[in-house]
C-alpha cells in the first residue's frame, strides 16, 4: 500500500505553505523600503569584519535581531504559532549577546578573519545577504516576496552565523552561533514539512555552517597548541 501512517513533520506545523509564504510577503510589504537599509547594514558589517572592526560590526547587527524579534515573531508569527513568543525571546537574546560582544570585545578574534574557516563564514554571510534575496527575486519576480537580511529571519540568521564564524572564538563562538543555527534548523524543518524546495537549501547551508564552526574551533585549538609549543 502506498499510503502509510500517520504522524509526520507536517502535523506539527500549525499552518499551510500559502499562509507561511504570505506571512513572509507581508513583512516585505509592511516594511519596504527598509530592506535597502538593512541590506546595506549587513554589507557594511561584513566590510567592517574584513577591516577588523569587529565590535562596530556587532553594533550594526544587534538591532537587526531586535527588529526581527519584535516585527516578525511577536507581531506576526506569534499569531499563528504559540512558539512565536519563545522564538522572539531567543532573537532578543541574540541581540543582547551581540551587544555584549560589541561593548566588551570578549570572545572577538580579529585574527580569525584571515583563517581558512572564515572563508566558509564569508560564503554563508554572502549567501544570506545576496544569495537568498536574489533567489526570491528570481523565483517570484518581486522584491517584496524576497527574503532579506534584517527583515526576515532566515537571511538574518544565515548572515549572522557566517559573521560569527569569522569574528568569534572560544565559547562565545558557540554562544552566538547557537540561536541562528537553531533557527535555521527549525525553519528548514518547517519548510520541509510545507513541501518548500528552499528547505533543502537552508539545511545544506546549516550543514556547511556547522562544518565551518567545527573547522574554526579546530583552527583555534591548533593555534593555541602551537603558541604553547613556542613558549
Amino acid at each position: 500500500m502506498i499510503f502509510g501512517s500517520s504522524y509526520s513533520l507536517q502535523d506539527f506545523v500549525p499552518f499551510t505553505a500559502d499562509i507561511y509564504f504570505r506571512l513572509l510577503e507581508r513583512m516585505g510589504e509592511t516594511y519596504w523600503p527598509l530592506h535597502l537599509i538593512t541590506i546595506v547594514l549587513g554589507m557594511v558589517a561584513l566590510w567592517l569584519v574584513l577591516k577588523h572592526r569587529l565590535r562596530l560590526a556587532c553594533v550594526l547587527i544587534a538591532p537587526v535581531w531586535l527588529f526581527v524579534a519584535v516585527a516578525f515573531f511577536m507581531r506576526l508569527y506569534a499569531e499563528l504559532n504559540w512558539a512565536g513568543g519563545y522564538i522572539a525571546f531567543a532573537f532578543l537574546t541574540e541581540s543582547a549577546l551581540l551587544l555584549f560582544l560589541a561593548l566588551t570585545g570578549i570572545g572577538l578574534d580579529d585574527r580569525s578573519a584571515k583563517s581558512q574557516a572564515s572563508f566558509v563564514g564569508m560564503f554563508i554571510a554572502l549567501a544570506g545577504l545576496i544569495g537568498l534575496p536574489f533567489m526570491g527575486l528570481l523565483s517570484y519576480g518581486s522584491g517584496l516576496r524576497a527574503e532579506v537580511f534584517g527583515i526576515h529571519a532566515d537571511p538574518t540568521s544565515m548572515t549572522t552565523l557566517g559573521l560569527a564564524i569569522m569574528i568569534s572564538r572560544g565559547w562565545l563562538l558557540w554562544c552566538i552561533s547557537l540561536i541562528p543555527a537553531l533557527w535555521l534548523l527549525y525553519s528548514g524543518l518547517t519548510l520541509w514539512a510545507l513541501g518548500a524546495p528552499s528547505a533543502k537549501l537552508l539545511l545544506v547551508v546549516l550543514f556547511i555552517a556547522l562544518t565551518g564552526l567545527f573547522w574554526k574551533q579546530l583552527e583555534l585549538s591548533m593555534l593555541k597548541h602551537e603558541s604553547h609549543d613556542q613558549n
Binding site: F3, Y7, Q10, L80
Partner: protein
Amino acid sequence: MNNRYTRRQSLKMLTAGLAVTLLPAMPRLAASEELLQKRFSADKTLPVIGLGTWQTFNVGTDPKLLAARTEVVSAFFELGGGLIDSSPMYGSSPDTVGHALQQLGIPDTLFSAEKVWSPAGGSAHEQVANLLGRWKLEQFDLVQVHNLTDWREHLAALREMKQEGLIRYIGITTSHGRRHQEFEQILASEDIDFAQLTYNITHREVENRLLPLAREKGIAVIANRPYDGGRLIKGLKRRNESLPEWAEEECGCSTWADFLLKFIVSHPAITCAIPATTQVAHLRENMHAGMGTMPTASTRQKMVNFIESL
C-alpha cells in the same frame, strides 16, 4: 445579527429534514444535489460534510487571507454546510471563523463545534467564554475535550455548561489513532453526545470497536483527517491515478474527493467528516461528495481493496 442565509437555508433544512424522515438511517440515495443529512439525535440532523480548520484557517490578521477564508465559509453555507470544527490549539483559526461569521451573518444551519484542552490555559469555563468571544457567538452547539486532555475535569465542567445552556452537546476527540482504549472506556462509561476520531480509507482501526460502540450508544461520530492530513488525496493526484470506472457507476464518484469522502460518510456510524481546505474549488469538491448516491457495503469493500492494491 445578520441572517442573510436564513430563508434559503431554512428551505434547504426543510428539504433535508424531509429526506431524512423518508429515508432509512443508511440509505443508498438517489442522485440529488442536496447534501445528505444524517440523524444524530431523535430530532436533529447534520450535513455529512463539515468543515475542519486545522492549519487552513490559521491566518492571523492578514486581511487578504481573512477575506479568502470568508469566501470558503460562504461557499460552505451556500452548498448546505453546517458543522465547522475548530480548537484553541489551532492558532488564530477560531478568530478567522468569527471574522467570517461576522462578515456573512450567522446562518441557521451553522453547527459550531469547538474544543477545550488543558495547555490552552484557563478552566474549561474560561476557555469556552474566550472562544465564544472569538467566534462572536453566544452559544456553542458542541464543545469537545481535545485529545482527552484532563477529560474527567473538562467533561464535568462541560456538563455544567450544558445545563446552563452555554453549549448544547458535549464530546471527546482523538486523532491519529491515539489512546483508543481509553477513548473506548469513555464512550462506554460516560454520557456524551459526540465522539471525534480519525477515520479514513487507510485508517480504519476504529471500525473494529469504537464505531460499533458509538452506534450502539447513539453517539454521533465526527471523522477527522479524512484525507490523512492531505497526504491521501495529494498522493493519489500526484500519482495521476485514475478513478476506477465502477466508482462512478456504483456511487457517482467523479473526483478523488468523492471517492475518499463518500467512503467515510457512508459508514453507518459516521455522522459527518470534516475536511479542511483553503480553496473554494476544493471545498466544492468536498461538498459534492456528500451529495448523490452513496456506496453500498460491497462497494465500500471494493474501494478499500482498490486503495490497498496501489
